[in-house]
């Protein structure tokens, strides 16, 4: 080896102005950490979501209130600040159920639906997107047609019909939202795969004899990871709102299961007289979705800085 005279100098240097030296010495993971911990939106969003997740998971176990116990005689009690008492800190609903407990369980519902609906959408969208992007041609055209149909379909209409058909349950809601919300996954993975497909490391993987499946799993998918995580988060926010909207329209989560959208819809009947019934779940929904969205935006900035705008 020593006969080759052009070994590299010890001092590592860079040619580009666009890279800072200190950043260039970091591994991708370190780079990520550094960017993540200096991104305020991401931090606030993540903390909000973590706080709500903790409340949702731990709250119902710790607090002495039951989200399902009806007490018809004690219905529509106001929260403590509006003259209620500590037996029901946030008051009670139309059937005398504790509102705080229902809000907490509602957080579980929102998170569960959001997570699994986004997962389902992710599986559908990414599968279609990768196929369309990688194989192109007729497959791509078929997927595009499917996408056009999906986008052209008034989603709430079909959701309503499906929920009537199958009957409302959390699984159906997850299924409906997931099945109807994959376009973003599809569009982004499709174009990302089309781009990656043309990159030389894919050609290189082919020339070392990797099978198509191996290229999928080892070269293409890992490089979609960042984008998928980002879209997943954003779609989770969308799914949470969709669930709330479906429940608000009465075709989502079924009472007695508390869903924030359903609670808003129930509270709406007396929004002029018992406003907290509408306002509290609305604020909870707002906080959760904002947290998730801030997380998503933050992750986009951190994970895929090239598409920062």
């Amino acid at each position: 080896m020593s006969s080759i005279d052009n070994t590299l100098p010890e001092r590592q240097t860079s040619a580009g102005v666009e890279h800072t030296e200190s950043l260039i010495t970091l591994t991708p993971r370190q780079l990520l950490h550094r960017r993540a911990f200096s991104h305020w939106g991401l931090i606030i969003g993540t903390l909000t979501v973590i706080a709500l997740v903790l409340l949702a998971v731990v709250g119902p176990l710790v607090l002495p209130f039951d989200a399902y116990a009806q007490e018809l005689a004690g219905r529509l009690q106001p929260p403590v600040w509006a003259g209620g008492d500590w037996a029901h800190p946030l008051g009670t609903d139309h059937l005398g159920r504790d509102y705080l407990a229902r809000l907490l369980i509602g957080a579980r519902i929102s998170l569960t639906v959001g997570f699994f609906a986004a997962t389902l959408g992710c599986i559908i969208g990414v599968t279609l997107g990768v196929c369309a992007g990688y194989f192109g041609g007729r497959i791509d055209q078929a997927v595009s047609y499917l996408l056009t149909c999906q986008l052209a379909l008034p989603q709430i209409l079909l959701a309503m019909a499906l929920v009537f058909l199958i009957g409302p349950s959390i699984y159906v809601v997850i299924g409906v939202i997931g099945v109807l919300q994959w376009s973003y996954f599809l569009v982004v993975t499709r174009s990302a795969v089309m781009r990656i497909r043309e990159l030389d490391y894919i050609a290189s993987a082919k020339t070392i004899g990797s099978s198509t499946r191996s290229i999928f799993w080892h070269e293409v998918l890992p490089n979609l990871r960042s984008q998928i995580i980002v879209i997943f988060t954003i779609e989770m926010g969308v799914a949470i709102l969709s669930e709330a909207a479906l429940s608000f329209l009465g075709v989502g989560i079924q009472s007695p299961t508390p869903s924030w959208g359903l609670m808003i819809s129930e509270g709406r009947q007396s929004m002029f007289f018992n406003p907290w019934l509408t306002i509290l779940p609305g604020i909870a929904l707002f906080l959760l979705v904002m947290g998730v969205n801030l997380m998503g935006d933050g992750m986009r900035d951190v994970l895929t800085p090239e598409g920062r705008h």
Partner: protein, 615 residues
């Protein structure tokens, strides 16, 4: 003021950039130069040397996070430091200084017509009437060689070819009869034949109109075609300045010397002296330099270089930045140039008698595009009836301009692309009959862009070891050993084993790509523009490495390139392609000295060599 005042005077121009992470960067560290009226100055340097940045600074086009400092910045008697940016925009930009950029494809606004973009330059801020501007635009388009100028005015940029667009850019820069024209890498994105035409046009216009011109380029050969004086930049400052011929004939600064030595020359016969590569690469602009910027790459480095950065010294018409005397530098250069002639890697015996290792027989490749499920299909014949034979141990170059089909040819030979008709043969067997794994052990590629040829999520070690994993060779430990072995073979220190591509420079990445290609011990490397994304000093390192490896491992190379100099230096045999067809092929020297096809002759005529010009 007076007639003899220089057109442009730049004193101690520096730029400080603030990065998002809060660090300070100095891509430009005290640049001085003057330009007389009617003079053409060339500024050369590798990427990151600050040459383009200094021009952007002149024009007030720096990004918002950049700060410009200078002792003096004068255009004629106008002090550019004293005027507001809006005044500068109104009175200077586009009016007294015209500027031409690198990318003709993107530098024109795609949504407006050529005419509008030309005319608005001359009507902005009431500079002139639209009617006069239109007449001027037509006249200029005529002058810069755009056919049917009146028709062109109503066309959009995408309807013009790259060369025409660059001509339009030139016309646009000239709309207001500027005193100074700045051309920032005006020909880099163009094909070789166009490149020469544009440079000649610029030179003609400059002398004809008596403007000052600054021509910025990384390509010494290109600059030499159009300028009188030259400045060499390195790490944000000039290291050498002087009249073109002086600098080329008697380069003083070791960097200039190295740069001239490491550029392969299309005018020198094949098999000349080994390229004099400059080790390492340009220092990061993030270091506060308290020593000579070139010290860690310099062959003459000694203690004095580490004390402080040397000042510019003058020697005759030249100025250079080094602690050593001009005579000493001069003699060192002559010494290394003529004394110790490092020989070209010994030519390996080419096995012409045997059947070709790899061959294409009457191969054609047609791409069919179809719009929508019902759309009409459109055929695009990328490669048309091409036969190529690659023999053992030879270095066969396919040369051609963009769109000539050379990359598609390479992909067919790699088995990445099925020929539409014809056949690809490996040792006489149809390539498609072998499995991808069998092929992989015999043919491997090295791609053009070292940034996209490595999976960004894999460490260097993983990338190099990946082929072994795919082929199920060895265990984790043995693969690591093998990877380290190959890394040392291609000159990568062991500490890079766990690095990621984003932590490496282009040259280092290209070494990783070569290492990965070699790990399965193939017989043939197909190198598609392996150095065109690299700086010239790094290009020399990689070319030398490839030659060394060939010697050590008995490799056969198929080289795809557009660079005529690299071909003559590197290849034993050459194939010239145009529009998907082979127009000429033969031994390198034969083709370069006695080209038969007019297109080959045209290609060769476009070669610009600073030394041949000065000779």
């Amino acid at each position: 003021m007076n007639e003899h005042a220089p057109l442009l005077r730049v004193e101690n121009l520096s730029i400080t950039l603030k990065t998002p992470s809060g660090e300070q960067v100095q891509p430009l560290r005290g640049v001085n130069f003057e330009l007389s009226r009617g003079e053409a100055l060339g500024i050369v340097g590798e990427s990151g040397s600050g040459k383009s940045m200094s021009m952007l600074a002149l024009m007030g086009l720096l990004p918002s996070n950049a700060r410009r400092d200078a002792d003096s910045l004068k255009l004629g008697d106008k002090d550019l430091l004293q005027i507001e940016d809006t005044t500068f925009a109104r009175e200077i930009a586009g009016k007294r200084i015209g500027m031409i950029f690198q990318e003709p494809m993107t530098s024109l606004n795609p949504v407006y017509t050529i005419g509008r973009q030309l005319i608005e330059t001359a009507t902005l801020y009431g500079r002139g009437t639209a009617r006069a501007a239109r007449a001027r635009a037509i006249e200029l388009l005529n002058r810069v060689g755009v056919p049917e100028p009146e028709l062109r005015l109503d066309q959009y940029p995408h309807q013009l070819s790259g060369g025409l667009r660059q001509r339009v850019m030139i016309a646009m820069a000239l709309m207001n009869e500027p005193e100074l024209i700045i051309a920032d890498e005006p020909t880099t994105a163009l094909d070789v034949t166009i490149k020469a035409q544009i440079l000649d046009l610029l030179a003609d216009l400059q002398s004809e109109l008596g403007m000052g011109m600054i021509l910025v380029s990384h390509d010494i050969g290109a600059v030499s075609r159009a300028v009188d004086r030259i400045g060499v930049m390195y790490a944000g400052a000039f290291v050498e300045k002087g009249p073109l011929d002086d600098v080329f004939e008697h380069p003083l600064h070791p960097y200039t010397q190295g740069l001239l030595q490491c550029a392969p020359r299309a005018t020198l016969a094949h098999g000349g002296p080994r390229l004099g590569a400059i080790p390492g690469s340009v220092p990061s602009p993030f270091k506060r330099l308290t020593r000579c910027a070139f010290s860690d790459r310099c062959p003459h480095v000694h203690d004095a270089c580490y004390g402080s950065e040397p000042a510019l010294r003058s020697a005759g018409n030249q100025a250079y930045r080094c602690v050593l005397d001009a005579e000493q530098l001069q003699s060192d250069n002559d010494h290394s140039d003529k004394g110790v002639v490092i020989p070209h890697a010994t030519p390996v015996q080419v096995e012409h008698g045997d059947p070709p290792v790899l061959a294409l027989e009457s191969a054609s490749c047609v791409f069919t595009t179809r719009r929508g499920l019902l759309g009409r299909s459109k055929d695009n014949r990328a490669v048309d009836d091409v036969s190529i034979a690659l023999h053992g141990n030879e270095i066969l170059a396919i040369v051609g301009e963009s769109g000539s089909g050379k990359t598609t040819t390479a992909r067919m030979m790699l088995g990445l692309q099925q020929p539409t008709s014809g056949v690809a043969l490996f040792r006489g067997e149809a390539l498609e009959k072998s499995t991808p794994r069998q092929r992989a052990q015999l043919i491997q590629p090295v791609f053009q862009d070292p940034y996209s040829s490595l999976n960004p999520l894999r460490t260097v070690g993983d990338s190099i070891g990946r082929p072994l994993v795919v082929h199920g060779v060895g265990n984790r430990a043995s693969r690591r050993e093998r990877a380290l072995e190959i890394m040392s073979l291609v000159g990568l220190p062991e500490r890079f084993y766990n690095s990621y591509p984003n932590q490496m420079s282009g040259g280092q990445r290209q070494r990783v790509a070569i290492a990965r290609a070699l790990v399965l011990e193939p017989k043939v490397l197909i190198c598609d523009e392996p150095t065109s994304a690299l700086d010239i000093s790094v290009q020399a390192q990689i070319l030398n490495l490839l030659l060394d490896l060939r010697e050590r491992l008995g490799l056969t190379y198929l080289l795809i390139t557009h660079d005529l100099a690299v071909v003559r230096y590197f290849a034993t045999r050459v194939v010239v392609m145009k529009s998907g067809q082979i127009v000429e092929s033969g031994e390198t020297e034969r083709v370069y000295t006695q080209p038969t096809h007019p297109y080959t002759q045209e290609l060769l005529a476009s070669i610009s060599d600073p030394l041949r010009r000065s000779a």
